[in-house]
Symmetry: C2
Subunit: 249 residues, 2 copies
Amino acid sequence: MAQAIPFRQAFPLKASCHQCSLSNLCLPLAIAENDLDRLEDIVQQGRIFSRGEHIFDQSAPFRSCFAVKSGSIKTSIITEGGEEQVTGFFMPGELVGLDSMSSENYACTAKALERTSVCEFPVDKLEELTGKLPDLQHHMFHLMSQEIQNSHQLAMLLSKNTAEERIAALLLSLSSRFQRRRMSPTNFSLPMARNDIANFLGLAVETVSRVFTRFQNQGIIKARGREVELLDVEALQLVTREFSRQSNP
Amino acid sequence: MAQAIPFRQAFPLKASCHQCSLSNLCLPLAIAENDLDRLEDIVQQGRIFSRGEHIFDQSAPFRSCFAVKSGSIKTSIITEGGEEQVTGFFMPGELVGLDSMSSENYACTAKALERTSVCEFPVDKLEELTGKLPDLQHHMFHLMSQEIQNSHQLAMLLSKNTAEERIAALLLSLSSRFQRRRMSPTNFSLPMARNDIANFLGLAVETVSRVFTRFQNQGIIKARGREVELLDVEALQLVTREFSRQSNP
DNA sequence: CGAGGGGTTGAGACTCGTCAAGTGACGTGG
DNA sequence: CCACGTCACTTGACGAGTCTCAACCCCTCG
Protein backbone atom coordinates (compact mmCIF):
# COMPACT_ATOMS: atom_id res chain seq x y z
CA MET A 1 0.00 0.00 0.00
CA ALA A 2 2.53 2.51 1.16
CA GLN A 3 4.62 2.46 -1.95
CA ALA A 4 1.67 3.44 -4.09
CA ILE A 5 1.49 6.92 -2.70
CA PRO A 6 4.51 8.64 -4.19
CA PHE A 7 3.71 6.83 -7.39
CA ARG A 8 0.23 8.29 -7.55
CA GLN A 9 1.47 11.74 -6.66
CA ALA A 10 3.90 11.67 -9.51
CA PHE A 11 0.94 11.82 -11.84
CA PRO A 12 -1.04 14.96 -12.42
CA LEU A 13 -3.87 14.87 -9.88
CA LYS A 14 -6.57 15.52 -12.44
CA ALA A 15 -7.84 13.35 -15.23
CA SER A 16 -8.12 10.15 -13.33
CA CYS A 17 -11.80 9.59 -12.67
CA HIS A 18 -11.55 8.00 -16.09
CA GLN A 19 -9.18 5.33 -14.89
CA CYS A 20 -10.50 4.96 -11.36
CA SER A 21 -11.59 1.42 -10.72
CA LEU A 22 -14.41 2.72 -8.53
CA SER A 23 -15.97 4.97 -11.13
CA ASN A 24 -18.85 2.57 -11.50
CA LEU A 25 -19.71 3.03 -7.81
CA CYS A 26 -18.94 6.67 -7.35
CA LEU A 27 -20.26 9.92 -8.82
CA PRO A 28 -18.89 9.35 -12.35
CA LEU A 29 -21.44 6.58 -12.63
CA ALA A 30 -24.10 9.07 -13.60
CA ILE A 31 -22.13 11.03 -16.08
CA ALA A 32 -21.62 10.82 -19.78
CA GLU A 33 -18.03 10.29 -20.81
CA ASN A 34 -17.63 13.76 -22.23
CA ASP A 35 -18.95 15.44 -19.08
CA LEU A 36 -16.55 13.57 -16.88
CA ASP A 37 -13.88 16.18 -17.39
CA ARG A 38 -16.10 18.80 -15.83
CA LEU A 39 -16.46 16.71 -12.72
CA GLU A 40 -12.74 16.15 -12.61
CA ASP A 41 -12.17 19.86 -12.75
CA ILE A 42 -13.74 20.28 -9.36
CA VAL A 43 -12.40 17.18 -7.64
CA GLN A 44 -9.36 17.18 -5.47
CA GLN A 45 -8.06 13.69 -5.73
CA GLY A 46 -5.93 11.43 -3.72
CA ARG A 47 -5.75 12.98 -0.27
CA ILE A 48 -4.43 10.47 2.22
CA PHE A 49 -5.38 10.09 5.86
CA SER A 50 -3.74 7.69 8.25
CA ARG A 51 -5.56 5.64 10.81
CA GLY A 52 -7.38 7.72 13.39
CA GLU A 53 -7.10 11.00 11.51
CA HIS A 54 -10.20 13.14 11.11
CA ILE A 55 -11.38 13.82 7.58
CA PHE A 56 -13.65 16.49 8.99
CA ASP A 57 -15.04 17.47 12.37
CA GLN A 58 -18.54 18.02 13.59
CA SER A 59 -19.41 21.74 13.70
CA ALA A 60 -16.51 22.74 11.48
CA PRO A 61 -17.67 24.78 8.48
CA PHE A 62 -19.06 22.48 5.84
CA ARG A 63 -17.01 22.65 2.66
CA SER A 64 -16.89 19.31 0.92
CA CYS A 65 -18.21 15.83 0.48
CA PHE A 66 -15.68 13.02 0.24
CA ALA A 67 -15.65 9.82 -1.75
CA VAL A 68 -13.70 6.97 -0.26
CA LYS A 69 -11.08 5.71 -2.66
CA SER A 70 -9.39 3.14 -0.48
CA GLY A 71 -9.52 2.31 3.20
CA SER A 72 -12.61 3.06 5.25
CA ILE A 73 -14.24 5.75 7.33
CA LYS A 74 -16.58 5.88 10.26
CA THR A 75 -18.88 8.81 10.91
CA SER A 76 -20.20 9.67 14.34
CA ILE A 77 -22.12 12.29 16.21
CA ILE A 78 -21.01 13.62 19.56
CA THR A 79 -24.04 14.40 21.65
CA GLU A 80 -24.39 17.26 24.06
CA GLY A 81 -23.78 14.78 26.82
CA GLY A 82 -20.42 13.88 25.30
CA GLU A 83 -21.39 10.39 24.18
CA GLU A 84 -20.45 9.18 20.75
CA GLN A 85 -22.93 7.66 18.34
CA VAL A 86 -21.50 5.98 15.27
CA THR A 87 -23.82 6.77 12.36
CA GLY A 88 -22.16 4.86 9.56
CA PHE A 89 -19.22 3.06 8.03
CA PHE A 90 -18.07 4.02 4.56
CA MET A 91 -16.17 1.80 2.17
CA PRO A 92 -14.47 2.56 -1.16
CA GLY A 93 -16.85 4.05 -3.69
CA GLU A 94 -19.17 5.49 -1.07
CA LEU A 95 -19.82 9.17 -0.47
CA VAL A 96 -19.40 10.76 2.97
CA GLY A 97 -20.90 14.03 4.13
CA LEU A 98 -24.32 14.02 2.52
CA ASP A 99 -25.97 14.47 5.89
CA SER A 100 -24.25 17.82 6.23
CA MET A 101 -25.66 19.44 3.11
CA SER A 102 -28.36 21.17 5.08
CA SER A 103 -26.20 23.22 7.32
CA GLU A 104 -23.31 25.57 7.51
CA ASN A 105 -21.39 23.04 9.55
CA TYR A 106 -20.67 19.35 9.37
CA ALA A 107 -23.33 17.31 11.10
CA CYS A 108 -20.90 14.62 12.16
CA THR A 109 -17.24 13.73 12.48
CA ALA A 110 -15.54 11.48 9.94
CA LYS A 111 -12.56 9.46 11.03
CA ALA A 112 -10.30 7.15 9.05
CA LEU A 113 -10.44 3.62 10.41
CA GLU A 114 -7.25 2.72 8.59
CA ARG A 115 -4.97 4.35 6.05
CA THR A 116 -7.53 5.88 3.72
CA SER A 117 -7.47 7.92 0.56
CA VAL A 118 -10.36 10.10 -0.50
CA CYS A 119 -11.49 12.37 -3.29
CA GLU A 120 -12.85 15.72 -2.20
CA PHE A 121 -15.84 17.44 -3.79
CA PRO A 122 -16.23 21.07 -2.72
CA VAL A 123 -19.97 21.59 -2.33
CA ASP A 124 -20.22 25.02 -3.85
CA LYS A 125 -18.67 23.76 -7.06
CA LEU A 126 -20.58 20.52 -6.87
CA GLU A 127 -23.91 22.32 -6.57
CA GLU A 128 -22.97 24.54 -9.44
CA LEU A 129 -22.19 21.52 -11.56
CA THR A 130 -25.32 19.61 -10.62
CA GLY A 131 -27.30 22.60 -11.82
CA LYS A 132 -25.78 22.11 -15.26
CA LEU A 133 -25.77 18.33 -15.46
CA PRO A 134 -29.26 16.92 -14.84
CA ASP A 135 -27.92 13.38 -14.68
CA LEU A 136 -25.51 14.34 -11.93
CA GLN A 137 -28.27 16.12 -10.05
CA HIS A 138 -30.45 13.07 -10.35
CA HIS A 139 -27.62 10.94 -9.07
CA MET A 140 -27.10 13.20 -6.07
CA PHE A 141 -30.79 12.97 -5.21
CA HIS A 142 -30.45 9.25 -5.62
CA LEU A 143 -27.51 9.00 -3.25
CA MET A 144 -29.11 11.19 -0.64
CA SER A 145 -32.38 9.34 -0.62
CA GLN A 146 -30.44 6.10 -0.46
CA GLU A 147 -28.79 7.48 2.63
CA ILE A 148 -32.19 8.22 4.14
CA GLN A 149 -33.33 4.69 3.39
CA ASN A 150 -30.19 3.23 4.90
CA SER A 151 -30.76 5.21 8.01
CA HIS A 152 -34.36 4.05 8.20
CA GLN A 153 -33.19 0.49 7.84
CA LEU A 154 -30.77 1.08 10.67
CA ALA A 155 -33.50 2.56 12.82
CA MET A 156 -35.60 -0.48 12.13
CA LEU A 157 -32.76 -2.78 13.01
CA LEU A 158 -32.20 -0.93 16.26
CA SER A 159 -35.79 -0.79 17.31
CA LYS A 160 -37.07 -4.24 16.45
CA ASN A 161 -34.23 -6.69 16.34
CA THR A 162 -32.20 -8.65 18.81
CA ALA A 163 -28.44 -8.44 19.17
CA GLU A 164 -27.94 -11.51 16.98
CA GLU A 165 -30.13 -10.10 14.24
CA ARG A 166 -28.35 -6.77 14.26
CA ILE A 167 -24.92 -8.32 14.00
CA ALA A 168 -25.98 -10.76 11.30
CA ALA A 169 -27.37 -7.84 9.33
CA LEU A 170 -24.15 -5.89 9.66
CA LEU A 171 -22.04 -8.83 8.55
CA LEU A 172 -24.25 -9.35 5.52
CA SER A 173 -24.15 -5.67 4.67
CA LEU A 174 -20.37 -5.65 4.81
CA SER A 175 -20.28 -8.83 2.80
CA SER A 176 -22.32 -7.39 -0.04
CA ARG A 177 -20.30 -4.21 -0.02
CA PHE A 178 -17.08 -6.17 -0.36
CA GLN A 179 -18.67 -8.12 -3.16
CA ARG A 180 -19.53 -4.93 -5.03
CA ARG A 181 -15.84 -4.24 -5.12
CA ARG A 182 -15.17 -7.70 -6.47
CA MET A 183 -13.60 -8.87 -3.27
CA SER A 184 -14.47 -12.00 -1.40
CA PRO A 185 -17.93 -11.74 0.17
CA THR A 186 -17.18 -14.47 2.69
CA ASN A 187 -13.65 -13.74 3.74
CA PHE A 188 -12.73 -10.27 4.86
CA SER A 189 -11.26 -8.28 7.66
CA LEU A 190 -13.41 -5.87 9.62
CA PRO A 191 -12.12 -2.32 9.34
CA MET A 192 -13.65 -1.30 12.67
CA ALA A 193 -13.18 -2.31 16.30
CA ARG A 194 -15.77 -4.22 18.33
CA ASN A 195 -16.37 -1.00 20.14
CA ASP A 196 -17.49 0.75 16.96
CA ILE A 197 -19.72 -2.15 16.01
CA ALA A 198 -21.32 -2.08 19.43
CA ASN A 199 -21.83 1.66 19.32
CA PHE A 200 -23.23 1.56 15.79
CA LEU A 201 -25.67 -1.22 16.60
CA GLY A 202 -26.71 0.15 19.96
CA LEU A 203 -25.20 -2.72 21.96
CA ALA A 204 -22.61 -3.18 24.65
CA VAL A 205 -19.18 -4.37 23.54
CA GLU A 206 -19.61 -7.47 25.63
CA THR A 207 -22.79 -8.38 23.83
CA VAL A 208 -21.09 -8.06 20.46
CA SER A 209 -18.32 -10.28 21.65
CA ARG A 210 -20.73 -12.87 22.98
CA VAL A 211 -22.73 -12.99 19.77
CA PHE A 212 -19.57 -13.44 17.72
CA THR A 213 -18.57 -16.45 19.80
CA ARG A 214 -22.11 -17.80 19.71
CA PHE A 215 -22.15 -17.61 15.90
CA GLN A 216 -18.77 -19.27 15.90
CA ASN A 217 -19.94 -22.12 18.10
CA GLN A 218 -22.89 -22.62 15.77
CA GLY A 219 -20.50 -22.88 12.84
CA ILE A 220 -22.00 -19.87 11.09
CA ILE A 221 -18.83 -17.80 11.04
CA LYS A 222 -15.20 -18.06 11.92
CA ALA A 223 -13.68 -15.05 13.60
CA ARG A 224 -10.25 -14.29 14.96
CA GLY A 225 -10.03 -10.67 15.98
CA ARG A 226 -11.01 -8.65 12.97
CA GLU A 227 -10.56 -11.47 10.49
CA VAL A 228 -13.95 -12.90 9.65
CA GLU A 229 -15.05 -15.76 7.50
CA LEU A 230 -18.72 -16.33 6.75
CA LEU A 231 -19.19 -20.09 6.72
CA ASP A 232 -22.96 -20.22 6.33
CA VAL A 233 -24.43 -17.17 4.66
CA GLU A 234 -27.91 -18.64 4.49
CA ALA A 235 -27.92 -19.18 8.21
CA LEU A 236 -27.03 -15.52 8.66
CA GLN A 237 -29.85 -14.48 6.38
CA LEU A 238 -32.18 -16.64 8.39
CA VAL A 239 -31.10 -14.87 11.54
CA THR A 240 -31.94 -11.48 10.08
CA ARG A 241 -35.45 -12.73 9.38
CA GLU A 242 -35.00 -11.89 5.74
CA PHE A 243 -36.68 -15.14 4.93
CA SER A 244 -39.17 -15.31 7.73
CA ARG A 245 -42.00 -14.25 5.46
CA GLN A 246 -41.82 -17.65 3.81
CA SER A 247 -42.12 -19.54 7.05
CA ASN A 248 -44.54 -17.19 8.73
CA PRO A 249 -47.93 -18.30 7.43
CA MET B 1 -62.96 22.65 8.67
CA ALA B 2 -65.35 20.83 6.47
CA GLN B 3 -66.91 23.90 4.98
CA ALA B 4 -63.56 25.17 3.74
CA ILE B 5 -63.21 22.51 1.14
CA PRO B 6 -65.80 23.50 -1.47
CA PHE B 7 -64.71 27.07 -0.87
CA ARG B 8 -61.12 26.30 -1.75
CA GLN B 9 -62.10 24.26 -4.74
CA ALA B 10 -64.10 27.13 -6.12
CA PHE B 11 -60.83 28.96 -6.66
CA PRO B 12 -58.46 28.10 -9.45
CA LEU B 13 -56.06 25.54 -8.01
CA LYS B 14 -52.98 27.44 -9.08
CA ALA B 15 -51.54 30.66 -7.80
CA SER B 16 -51.85 30.04 -4.15
CA CYS B 17 -48.37 29.24 -2.88
CA HIS B 18 -48.28 33.02 -2.61
CA GLN B 19 -51.04 33.09 -0.05
CA CYS B 20 -50.27 29.82 1.69
CA SER B 21 -49.62 30.39 5.34
CA LEU B 22 -47.04 27.61 5.28
CA SER B 23 -44.92 29.07 2.51
CA ASN B 24 -42.26 29.97 5.02
CA LEU B 25 -41.89 26.29 5.97
CA CYS B 26 -42.38 24.63 2.64
CA LEU B 27 -40.56 24.72 -0.68
CA PRO B 28 -41.45 28.33 -1.56
CA LEU B 29 -39.17 29.33 1.27
CA ALA B 30 -36.17 29.08 -1.00
CA ILE B 31 -37.56 30.88 -3.96
CA ALA B 32 -37.56 34.44 -5.10
CA GLU B 33 -41.00 35.94 -5.46
CA ASN B 34 -40.86 36.08 -9.23
CA ASP B 35 -39.86 32.43 -9.52
CA LEU B 36 -42.71 31.29 -7.36
CA ASP B 37 -45.03 31.08 -10.33
CA ARG B 38 -42.81 28.46 -11.93
CA LEU B 39 -43.09 26.30 -8.85
CA GLU B 40 -46.82 26.78 -8.80
CA ASP B 41 -47.01 25.62 -12.39
CA ILE B 42 -45.91 22.17 -11.39
CA VAL B 43 -47.78 21.82 -8.11
CA GLN B 44 -51.09 20.10 -7.78
CA GLN B 45 -52.65 21.72 -4.79
CA GLY B 46 -55.28 20.88 -2.30
CA ARG B 47 -55.79 17.15 -2.57
CA ILE B 48 -57.69 15.87 0.42
CA PHE B 49 -57.30 12.53 2.15
CA SER B 50 -59.47 11.32 4.96
CA ARG B 51 -58.22 9.51 8.01
CA GLY B 52 -56.60 6.19 7.20
CA GLU B 53 -56.31 6.79 3.47
CA HIS B 54 -53.00 6.10 1.77
CA ILE B 55 -51.28 9.02 0.08
CA PHE B 56 -49.00 6.51 -1.60
CA ASP B 57 -48.00 2.90 -1.16
CA GLN B 58 -44.68 1.22 -0.77
CA SER B 59 -43.48 -0.31 -4.06
CA ALA B 60 -45.93 1.68 -6.14
CA PRO B 61 -44.18 3.63 -8.91
CA PHE B 62 -42.64 6.77 -7.49
CA ARG B 63 -44.19 9.85 -9.02
CA SER B 64 -44.38 12.67 -6.54
CA CYS B 65 -43.36 14.19 -3.27
CA PHE B 66 -46.07 15.66 -1.10
CA ALA B 67 -46.13 18.67 1.18
CA VAL B 68 -48.53 18.49 4.08
CA LYS B 69 -50.88 21.44 4.06
CA SER B 70 -53.08 20.51 6.98
CA GLY B 71 -53.56 17.38 9.02
CA SER B 72 -50.74 14.89 9.46
CA ILE B 73 -49.18 11.83 7.89
CA LYS B 74 -47.28 8.83 9.09
CA THR B 75 -44.82 6.94 6.91
CA SER B 76 -43.94 3.32 7.48
CA ILE B 77 -42.05 0.45 5.94
CA ILE B 78 -43.49 -3.02 5.70
CA THR B 79 -40.73 -5.56 6.11
CA GLU B 80 -40.46 -8.88 4.31
CA GLY B 81 -41.70 -10.48 7.49
CA GLY B 82 -44.85 -8.40 7.33
CA GLU B 83 -44.07 -6.22 10.33
CA GLU B 84 -44.63 -2.50 10.15
CA GLN B 85 -41.99 0.04 11.09
CA VAL B 86 -43.12 3.65 11.41
CA THR B 87 -40.35 5.82 10.00
CA GLY B 88 -41.77 9.28 10.57
CA PHE B 89 -44.60 11.65 11.31
CA PHE B 90 -45.17 14.64 9.08
CA MET B 91 -46.89 17.84 10.07
CA PRO B 92 -48.03 20.83 7.98
CA GLY B 93 -45.19 22.43 6.06
CA GLU B 94 -43.15 19.24 5.92
CA LEU B 95 -42.25 17.31 2.79
CA VAL B 96 -43.00 13.58 2.45
CA GLY B 97 -41.39 11.19 0.02
CA LEU B 98 -37.78 12.34 -0.06
CA ASP B 99 -36.59 8.89 0.91
CA SER B 100 -38.01 7.55 -2.32
CA MET B 101 -36.01 9.72 -4.68
CA SER B 102 -33.49 6.99 -5.25
CA SER B 103 -35.74 4.39 -6.68
CA GLU B 104 -38.39 3.66 -9.20
CA ASN B 105 -40.82 2.88 -6.42
CA TYR B 106 -41.86 4.43 -3.15
CA ALA B 107 -39.67 3.29 -0.29
CA CYS B 108 -42.48 3.51 2.24
CA THR B 109 -46.20 3.90 2.66
CA ALA B 110 -47.72 7.23 3.64
CA LYS B 111 -51.01 7.24 5.48
CA ALA B 112 -53.17 10.12 6.64
CA LEU B 113 -53.55 10.13 10.41
CA GLU B 114 -56.52 12.45 10.19
CA ARG B 115 -58.26 14.45 7.50
CA THR B 116 -55.26 15.81 5.61
CA SER B 117 -54.69 18.02 2.63
CA VAL B 118 -51.49 17.94 0.64
CA CYS B 119 -49.76 19.59 -2.28
CA GLU B 120 -48.27 17.25 -4.83
CA PHE B 121 -44.91 17.82 -6.55
CA PRO B 122 -44.33 15.48 -9.50
CA VAL B 123 -40.65 14.57 -9.34
CA ASP B 124 -39.86 14.71 -13.01
CA LYS B 125 -41.05 18.31 -13.17
CA LEU B 126 -39.49 19.11 -9.84
CA GLU B 127 -36.09 17.85 -10.93
CA GLU B 128 -36.40 19.81 -14.11
CA LEU B 129 -37.14 22.94 -12.16
CA THR B 130 -34.38 22.46 -9.61
CA GLY B 131 -31.97 22.27 -12.55
CA LYS B 132 -33.02 25.80 -13.48
CA LEU B 133 -33.36 27.35 -10.03
CA PRO B 134 -30.17 26.94 -8.02
CA ASP B 135 -31.85 28.19 -4.86
CA LEU B 136 -34.52 25.54 -5.16
CA GLN B 137 -31.89 22.88 -5.77
CA HIS B 138 -30.00 24.03 -2.73
CA HIS B 139 -33.17 23.89 -0.71
CA MET B 140 -33.90 20.35 -1.87
CA PHE B 141 -30.40 19.27 -0.85
CA HIS B 142 -31.04 21.01 2.43
CA LEU B 143 -34.30 19.19 3.06
CA MET B 144 -32.88 15.83 2.13
CA SER B 145 -29.84 16.15 4.31
CA GLN B 146 -32.08 17.33 7.11
CA GLU B 147 -34.02 14.15 6.65
CA ILE B 148 -30.81 12.14 6.95
CA GLN B 149 -29.93 13.97 10.13
CA ASN B 150 -33.37 13.39 11.56
CA SER B 151 -33.06 9.75 10.83
CA HIS B 152 -29.65 9.61 12.49
CA GLN B 153 -31.11 11.32 15.51
CA LEU B 154 -33.82 8.72 15.58
CA ALA B 155 -31.30 5.93 15.31
CA MET B 156 -29.41 7.45 18.20
CA LEU B 157 -32.55 7.71 20.25
CA LEU B 158 -33.37 4.10 19.56
CA SER B 159 -29.96 2.72 20.27
CA LYS B 160 -28.91 4.61 23.37
CA ASN B 161 -31.92 5.89 25.21
CA THR B 162 -34.45 4.51 27.61
CA ALA B 163 -38.18 4.47 27.06
CA GLU B 164 -38.61 7.65 29.09
CA GLU B 165 -35.95 9.47 27.12
CA ARG B 166 -37.42 8.45 23.81
CA ILE B 167 -40.90 9.59 24.71
CA ALA B 168 -39.69 12.85 26.19
CA ALA B 169 -37.77 13.51 22.99
CA LEU B 170 -40.82 12.82 20.86
CA LEU B 171 -42.98 15.11 22.94
CA LEU B 172 -40.42 17.90 22.68
CA SER B 173 -40.07 17.39 18.94
CA LEU B 174 -43.80 17.63 18.47
CA SER B 175 -43.90 20.63 20.74
CA SER B 176 -41.36 22.57 18.70
CA ARG B 177 -43.08 21.61 15.47
CA PHE B 178 -46.38 22.94 16.76
CA GLN B 179 -44.61 26.08 17.81
CA ARG B 180 -43.19 26.59 14.31
CA ARG B 181 -46.75 26.80 13.14
CA ARG B 182 -47.55 29.34 15.81
CA MET B 183 -49.66 26.94 17.79
CA SER B 184 -49.33 26.24 21.46
CA PRO B 185 -46.11 24.34 22.22
CA THR B 186 -47.46 23.05 25.52
CA ASN B 187 -51.01 22.18 24.74
CA PHE B 188 -51.77 20.02 21.76
CA SER B 189 -53.43 16.86 20.67
CA LEU B 190 -51.38 13.96 19.39
CA PRO B 191 -52.28 13.08 15.82
CA MET B 192 -51.16 9.47 16.22
CA ALA B 193 -52.24 6.52 18.33
CA ARG B 194 -50.16 5.05 21.15
CA ASN B 195 -49.54 2.16 18.85
CA ASP B 196 -47.82 4.36 16.29
CA ILE B 197 -45.74 6.05 18.96
CA ALA B 198 -44.66 2.69 20.28
CA ASN B 199 -43.79 1.41 16.84
CA PHE B 200 -41.92 4.57 15.92
CA LEU B 201 -39.88 4.56 19.12
CA GLY B 202 -39.23 0.85 19.14
CA LEU B 203 -41.27 0.17 22.27
CA ALA B 204 -44.26 -1.88 23.27
CA VAL B 205 -47.59 -0.08 23.53
CA GLU B 206 -47.73 -0.97 27.18
CA THR B 207 -44.42 0.70 27.85
CA VAL B 208 -45.57 3.90 26.17
CA SER B 209 -48.68 3.86 28.27
CA ARG B 210 -46.71 3.31 31.45
CA VAL B 211 -44.29 6.13 30.73
CA PHE B 212 -47.16 8.49 30.04
CA THR B 213 -48.70 7.75 33.40
CA ARG B 214 -45.30 7.93 35.10
CA PHE B 215 -44.71 11.40 33.62
CA GLN B 216 -48.19 12.32 34.72
CA ASN B 217 -47.59 11.18 38.27
CA GLN B 218 -44.39 13.22 38.34
CA GLY B 219 -46.36 16.27 37.27
CA ILE B 220 -44.37 16.68 34.06
CA ILE B 221 -47.29 16.29 31.70
CA LYS B 222 -51.02 15.95 31.77
CA ALA B 223 -52.49 13.48 29.33
CA ARG B 224 -55.99 12.31 28.65
CA GLY B 225 -56.06 10.12 25.57
CA ARG B 226 -54.48 12.10 22.80
CA GLU B 227 -54.83 15.43 24.52
CA VAL B 228 -51.47 16.37 26.01
CA GLU B 229 -50.33 19.27 28.10
CA LEU B 230 -46.68 19.80 28.86
CA LEU B 231 -46.53 21.11 32.40
CA ASP B 232 -42.77 21.14 32.89
CA VAL B 233 -40.81 21.46 29.67
CA GLU B 234 -37.48 21.78 31.45
CA ALA B 235 -38.04 18.51 33.21
CA LEU B 236 -38.68 16.89 29.85
CA GLN B 237 -35.48 18.36 28.47
CA LEU B 238 -33.64 17.02 31.46
CA VAL B 239 -35.00 13.57 30.77
CA THR B 240 -33.70 13.66 27.20
CA ARG B 241 -30.25 14.47 28.56
CA GLU B 242 -30.12 17.52 26.35
CA PHE B 243 -28.68 19.39 29.27
CA SER B 244 -26.62 16.68 30.81
CA ARG B 245 -23.43 18.12 29.36
CA GLN B 246 -23.69 20.96 31.83
CA SER B 247 -23.96 18.67 34.78
CA ASN B 248 -21.52 16.07 33.53
CA PRO B 249 -18.13 17.52 34.35
C1' DC C 1 9.68 -6.35 31.19
C1' DG C 2 5.57 -3.85 32.34
C1' DA C 3 1.79 -0.95 30.61
C1' DG C 4 -2.15 -0.51 28.10
C1' DG C 5 -5.64 -1.37 24.67
C1' DG C 6 -8.71 -4.54 22.54
C1' DG C 7 -11.19 -8.53 23.15
C1' DT C 8 -13.46 -12.35 25.83
C1' DT C 9 -16.01 -14.45 29.63
C1' DG C 10 -18.86 -14.78 33.89
C1' DA C 11 -22.42 -13.25 37.55
C1' DG C 12 -26.05 -10.29 39.01
C1' DA C 13 -29.27 -6.35 38.22
C1' DC C 14 -32.60 -3.98 35.63
C1' DT C 15 -35.27 -2.44 31.85
C1' DC C 16 -38.59 -3.67 28.92
C1' DG C 17 -41.48 -7.13 26.29
C1' DT C 18 -44.98 -10.54 26.77
C1' DC C 19 -49.19 -12.29 28.47
C1' DA C 20 -53.41 -11.43 30.57
C1' DA C 21 -57.12 -8.93 32.37
C1' DG C 22 -59.69 -4.82 32.82
C1' DT C 23 -61.57 -0.01 31.71
C1' DG C 24 -63.83 3.50 29.01
C1' DA C 25 -65.54 5.51 24.59
C1' DC C 26 -67.95 4.70 20.56
C1' DG C 27 -71.09 2.80 17.14
C1' DT C 28 -74.32 -0.86 15.87
C1' DG C 29 -78.33 -3.47 16.12
C1' DG C 30 -82.03 -5.46 18.55
C1' DC D 1 -82.96 2.64 25.18
C1' DC D 2 -79.86 -0.76 26.37
C1' DA D 3 -76.92 -4.84 25.24
C1' DC D 4 -73.09 -5.78 22.64
C1' DG D 5 -68.78 -5.78 20.10
C1' DT D 6 -64.90 -3.28 18.92
C1' DC D 7 -61.11 -0.51 19.55
C1' DA D 8 -57.70 2.28 22.00
C1' DC D 9 -55.70 2.53 26.14
C1' DT D 10 -54.29 1.22 30.93
C1' DT D 11 -52.52 -1.71 34.63
C1' DG D 12 -50.33 -5.74 36.81
C1' DA D 13 -47.25 -9.97 37.12
C1' DC D 14 -43.65 -12.41 35.23
C1' DG D 15 -39.62 -13.60 32.47
C1' DA D 16 -36.14 -12.89 28.83
C1' DG D 17 -32.50 -10.25 26.91
C1' DT D 18 -29.15 -7.15 27.56
C1' DC D 19 -26.35 -3.88 30.39
C1' DT D 20 -23.14 -3.26 34.07
C1' DC D 21 -19.38 -4.53 36.74
C1' DA D 22 -15.43 -7.21 37.21
C1' DA D 23 -11.86 -10.22 36.11
C1' DC D 24 -9.01 -12.16 32.81
C1' DC D 25 -6.40 -13.03 28.48
C1' DC D 26 -3.74 -11.80 24.49
C1' DC D 27 -1.11 -8.85 21.76
C1' DT D 28 1.53 -4.72 20.79
C1' DC D 29 4.53 -1.19 21.98
C1' DG D 30 7.60 1.43 24.57
